[in-house]
């Protein structure tokens, strides 16, 4: 990956993180897209799995800093998702839009599942509701947003040479 391309990807990464803290509160929807997961997945396919885990850990800590009662759960979930996505980079960067959407969906849902289990907030019913109702909806929203981001920044996000 050239330096220029790396800088572009880094800029997009920062922009996505910023959007997570600007667009979501602005919309105020009950089910909302997760720009942190999108940023994480986009970075993961460009770096080694170990680095992806570290980036995920850092991103997770940023998210966790606003919720001390679940501190660490986001970092764990993001590390796992980043590490896993980096292993699957070949599949992830195929040219199929539906495959992209599917992996954004799976990434966000996997993140939520790990997060809910690690955080252990509420009872089993609440956790199940979160995992099987709200999380799939949020994952679908994230998948749509991720595909839109990919289409908008296609030139910046050309597939890295494997």
């Amino acid at each position: 990956m050239s330096v220029q391309r790396a800088l572009r990807a880094a800029a997009l990464f920062v922009a996505l993180v910023a959007m997570h803290y600007f667009v979501r509160p602005l919309l105020g929807w009950r089910v909302s897209m997760d720009f942190l997961v999108i940023a994480m997945l986009l970075v993961s396919v460009r770096v080694r799995p170990g680095v992806a885990a570290v980036v995920g850990f850092a991103l997770g800590l940023i998210g966790d800093s606003l919720h001390p009662e679940t501190f660490g759960a986001g970092a764990l979930a993001m590390s796992i998702v980043g590490f896993g996505a980096s292993w699957l980079k070949a599949v992830f960067f195929s040219d199929n839009v539906f495959l992209h959407a599917f992996f954004f969906f799976v990434g966000k849902w996997a993140f939520d599942v790990v997060f809910v289990v690690a955080a252990r907030q509420g009872g089993v019913y609440d956790m199940a509701t979160q995992i099987f109702l709200w999380s799939p909806l949020a994952a679908a929203m994230t998948a749509v947003t991720g595909v839109v981001v990919l289409l908008l920044f296609r030139s910046m996000l050309e597939a890295p040479s494997s």
């Binding site: 799995p49 850990f57 800093s65 660490g72 764990l76 796992i80 590490f83 690690a118």
Partner: protein
């Protein structure tokens, strides 16, 4: 090559394991430690993102509240537009209260409804009638002076002609009693139509502009002492042995919405010279009290501001920190005058 790939893979796994272990460790840390770490993150790395989130929340709240804010602004504008009307109404009612205090007895307060039809512009409909004791030819007055005379009485309402009516006549005199005449409406073209004439004044009795004209009490319809108007100047007429003066009326009928109807008993009881003088004094006294209240409040605010300035300069000389400065308070708030109480509102 394969060894390098294997070692890279091991490094990746090790990094992932380390991250996962640290994250798990973070989840089981005591809450105070987690709070401390989260707090330090919020104060440093996450601070710009938090600011961004705060702005977004504020924008969303403002967007959501725009309709309510618009409605509030509309209400304020409407209320502001009504303030002038309320102030006028308040002054009128205050005048009526003052007049009723001076009259003490023999009067009927009434609402005055203005006619809207052609020819009704010189008439008033009063909401008191024969059942209330109103009689024909009763005088209709306002705090500022004479308005007209009752002509027709129904059981619950009555009709009165205004001084603008062509048939209106009133025996009048100068306030010092030196000149007498008959007051009637000035039937010229607009805008002089809204003036009065004092006719039949003896040629020897010259009146200066500004002279107050009152009812004289002659004829028994209007008691003596009700203000009618003020002399503006004389009018040239063909009459050789009398003078005619143009008067600025004391009361403009369109401004009147509440009046007093004087009963014949009250008229027969004698002159009312002191009533309208007292009303005028009471009104000016009320305005004076309000104005002096304002000036006292202003003086108190200025004195407070002066005292604060002296204290500030003293602190500066002695090097004592100013607590107001440390709290970043607006210094202008310190010299702002206190909220003025509604001086027009009377306590029960």
């Amino acid at each position: 090559m394969a060894r390098a790939a294997r070692s890279g893979s091991r490094a990746d796994t090790a990094l992932f394991a380390t991250c996962a272990l640290l994250a798990l460790l973070a989840t089981v840390l005591p809450l105070p430690i987690r709070d401390a770490i989260a707090s330090s993150l919020r104060r440093t790395v996450v601070a710009p993102l938090l600011a961004l989130q705060e702005r977004a929340e504020r924008a969303r709240t403002a967007f959501a509240a725009r309709d309510a804010v618009a409605a509030q602004v509309d209400s304020l504008v409407l209320r502001n537009a009504e303030l002038g009307q309320l102030a006028h109404e308040n002054a009128t009612l205050r005048g009526l209260l003052s007049l009723s205090r001076q009259l003490q007895w023999g009067f009927l307060p009434s609402e005055a409804l203005h006619g809207r039809g052609t020819g009704d512009e010189h008439m008033l409909i009063l909401t008191r009638g024969a059942e209330d004791g109103v009689q024909p030819r009763s005088a209709v007055v306002a705090p500022a002076g004479l308005i007209g005379q009752v002509t027709t009485v129904d059981p619950s309402t009555s009709l009165a002609i205004l001084w603008t009516h062509p048939d209106f006549r009133a025996s009048a005199m100068a306030a010092d009693g030196t000149a007498f005449g008959i007051v009637r409406p000035h039937l010229g073209e607009e805008p002089e139509r809204s003036l009065l004439e004092l006719r039949g004044v003896a040629f020897r009795d010259a009146l200066k502009p500004g002279t107050l004209i009152l009812t004289s009490g002659l004829g028994g319809v209007f008691p003596r002492g009700i203000p009618i108007g003020v002399v503006m100047g004389d009018v040239n007429t063909s009459e050789a042995w009398s003078r005619t003066y143009l008067l600025r009326p004391a009361v403009y009928p369109p401004d009147v919405s509440n009046v007093m109807i004087l009963t014949p008993q009250r008229v027969a009881a004698g002159p009312m010279d002191s009533v309208w003088i007292s009303v005028a004094r009471a009104d000016s006294a009320a305005r004076g009290v309000a104005a002096s209240g304002d000036s006292l409040a202003r003086l108190a605010a200025l004195a407070e501001a002066q005292r604060r300035r002296q204290m500030d300069s003293l602190r500066t000389v002695l090097g004592i920190p100013n607590p107001a400065d440390s709290a970043k308070r607006d210094s202008s708030a310190a010299i702002a005058p206190p909220v003025r109480r509604d001086t027009t509102r009377k306590t029960p």
